[in-house]
């Protein structure tokens, strides 16, 4: 089974899950191969890098940036024939949903772990962080998993061999053009204008009461 994993900051958990599920295709939307350094990819992993100057638009709001990235990730998944796509939860929080929508696949967010069960007709068993429980879900292998980033990356020095050079794809190689990427939907101002201040609690018991009303057991 081919598993596509997107290389991004704090993607260690997603990469390890991908390696346990099948043949890893590591995708990076980056200008150079340097992005692969430090990522604990298995030796057999194939590296795919896609770059276009349209990704370099700094004026894009992160939401629009992830909407564009989703089109490319989905197209690469089709290109390599990946069944499962693993992403790390993004800061804008939109990438996983957008990729799932592009591919018409199920999305599981807040993923902690995943494993395959069954040989002839394998199923994906996914553990997901919920509000009050760790939820175990069972479904087909064709899915998009949005993996929670680890609280900390490994402190061990990761010896990553240079390995084979990555396969570099352009938008044209993926049968995409600039017109296929979604136009920006948000105009943004650079300087933050609103600063949210925390809600103050006058005692520990009041704070705990509030946390319990939000789901803390």
């Amino acid at each position: 089974m081919k598993v596509l994993v997107l290389v991004s900051p704090l993607c260690g958990r997603a990469v390890k899950l991908a390696a346990s599920l099948g043949d890893v295709y590591a995708l990076a939307l980056a200008e150079t191969d340097a992005v692969f350094s430090g990522v604990p990819l298995p030796d057999s992993a194939r590296r795919v890098r896609v770059w276009d100057k349209m990704f370099q638009d700094d004026a894009l709001h992160p939401f629009d940036g992830e909407a564009r990235a989703a089109v490319v990730v989905a197209q690469v998944a089709r290109h390599v024939g990946a069944s499962t796509v693993l992403l790390t939860e993004s800061t804008a929080g939109y990438l996983g949903a957008a990729v799932a929508e592009q591919l018409n696949l199920a999305l599981v967010s807040d993923v902690i772990s995943a494993q395959l069960e069954g040989r002839s007709d394998p199923e994906l068993v996914v553990s997901r962080r919920g509000l009050r429980h760790v939820q175990t879900l069972r479904g087909g292998v064709q899915a998009v998993l949005s993996v929670l980033p680890p609280l900390t990356e490994s402190t061990q020095t990761i010896e990553v061999e240079n390995g084979a050079p990555s396969t570099v794809l352009s938008l044209e190689d993926l049968s995409l053009s600039a017109a296929d990427l979604p136009a920006p939907t948000l105009r943004t101002q650079n300087a933050p204008q609103r600063h949210h201040q925390p809600r103050l609690f006058l005692g520990a018991e009041l704070l705990v009461e509030r946390l319990r009303r939000d789901g803390l057991e």
């Binding site: 949903a97 807040d110 509000l131 175990t136 064709q142 600063h195 925390p198 789901g215």
Partner: protein, 436 residues
């Protein structure tokens, strides 16, 4: 009429406080901008015994209507997800095209809101902000930057202008609760059988179903562990105390709690327990107090009781827009009357200057003031209102009194978001005061 949809999450039949805060902001926006406020709730998460009071309860907190969503799956999930309610959610958005879609920033919210945005070609702002400024709806992203929707290049004049829905997850503690005066009408939304399946996938059987759930172990969902105990396998907690030793970014923790005046990760602190002794700067006592409070069994106060909820007067009456609390003394953008304190590293030389309170004349009914417990009073807080101030003053340590800032949340821009502008808006929207 455009609408604000708020998806509520429930805990043992009671809505989450963070969900009610999102509903409160929707109420304020609805009253200011003429939007109807519709609360959506997963029917399976509201027990039969609680459904009868759902209309009065959510009407009390500001909803105009309540729609109960039915799941596709016969077996209800313990944890709310998008897939089982996808069809019902999409049907609700078809019937009530939302200008704004709010949901508390929880694991479920982080799955449902972006998926709804992707499915409906909307915009998703994680931990964003929707406020009424200059009599218009404005959006800010999670970093506090104002965002505006791009106008489409080509506009078809023969068709009504397209409305792009904005989906926002709301962090706990950001907004104050609001109050409505009429019970909300309750209806059910069930997806039709011939509609698209939940996941819209051409491959059968690829949807996920809940297999089992496991309760969190102690310390797994909420912790302030030292960094050495955190490994790569540690499940990121839903609730995290941000100490110097513990780090949890926006992606990993949903509710970030600060302990002390200058907690680590202060930009992301949502709920703050300030220092007792500013000289020692010692947070150990506070941590111990929190730990002791956590060990105490929780006696849930079912709030508010039925007697406090608005009762239906005429069942045949069309649901009307609810009038929320008066605006006086309230931060227009968040509805806050409660104390906030800055989690910044301001030195002692930086005097905290309270912002001017907008002048108001009309007093429809007294405001509830004080700390969070007053949100949950049995009697709309009216009885406690007259006593609240001395109680808070007596119980609160002096340092808190000194550091409390009751000013509106800082708006650093100097033009349209200035306090003078807010005064004008307050005066215009004041109940009982004629518009000039």
């Amino acid at each position: 009429m455009a609408s604000v949809l708020v998806v509520l999450e429930f805990l043992d039949g009671e809505p989450l406080c963070a969900s009610l805060e999102a509903l409160g902001q929707a109420r304020r926006l609805g009253s200011a901008l003429g939007l109807s406020v519709c609360a959506l709730a997963a029917m399976e998460s509201v027990g039969q015994e609680h459904r009868e009071r759902l209309g009065p309860l959510l009407g009390y907190y500001g909803a105009d209507t309540v729609t109960l969503l039915t799941a596709d799956e016969p077996k209800p999930c313990e944890e709310l997800r998008f897939a089982p309610y996808a069809r019902a959610l999409l049907q609700a958005t078809d019937e009530l095209p939302p200008r704004l879609f709010l949901m508390a920033d929880t694991p479920a919210g982080r799955e449902i809101a972006p998926r709804m945005a992707a499915r409906t070609n909307g915009v998703f702002l994680a931990r964003g902000d929707a406020v009424c400024e200059q009599a218009e709806l404005r959006f800010y992203d999670g970093d506090g930057r104002r965002v505006e929707l791009e106008e489409p290049d080509e506009i078809d004049l023969t068709m009504p202008p397209p409305v792009t829905s904005v989906m926002i997850t709301v962090p706990a503690g950001r907004y104050a609760l609001s109050r409505g005066s009429e019970p909300a009408s309750v209806r059910f939304a069930a997806a039709l059988a011939d509609e698209n399946p939940s996941e819209r996938t051409p491959v059968p059987g690829t949807g996920f179903v809940e297999d089992s759930v496991r309760r969190y172990r102690p310390g797994e969902v909420f912790f302030w562990r030292e960094k050495e105990t955190v490994t790569e396998q540690t499940v990121p907690p839903v609730f995290a105390v941000l100490c110097d030793e513990c780090f949890a970014d926006r992606r990993s923790a949903c509710v970030r709690v600060g302990i002390g005046a200058n907690p680590a990760g202060q930009d992301d602190v949502q709920l703050l327990l300030p220092l007792v002794d500013p000289k020692t700067q010692n947070t150990a006592g506070l941590l111990a107090a929190v730990e002791a409070a956590l060990k105490k069994p929780w006696e849930r106060r079912w709030t508010p009781p039925l007697s406090a909820l608005p009762q239906p007067v005429n069942d045949d009456k069309e649901p009307a827009l609810t009038i929320a609390r008066p605006w006086e003394g309230v931060d227009m953008s968040t509805g806050d009357t409660e104390p906030h304190t800055a989690a910044t590293t301001a030195s002692e030389d930086d005097a905290i200057t309270p912002s001017p309170t907008p002048e108001t004349t009309a007093k429809a009914f007294p405001l509830v003031e004080g700390a969070d417990e007053n949100m949950w009073d049995d009697d709309l807080g009216l009885a406690k209102t007259q006593e609240a101030a001395p109680i808070v003053e007596e119980s609160a340590p002096m340092v808190e009194q000194e550091e409390v800032v009751t000013a509106p949340i800082d708006d650093s821009s100097e033009d349209e978001n200035s306090l003078e502008t807010k005064d004008a808006v307050v005066a215009r929207d004041e109940p009982g005061k004629e518009r000039s």
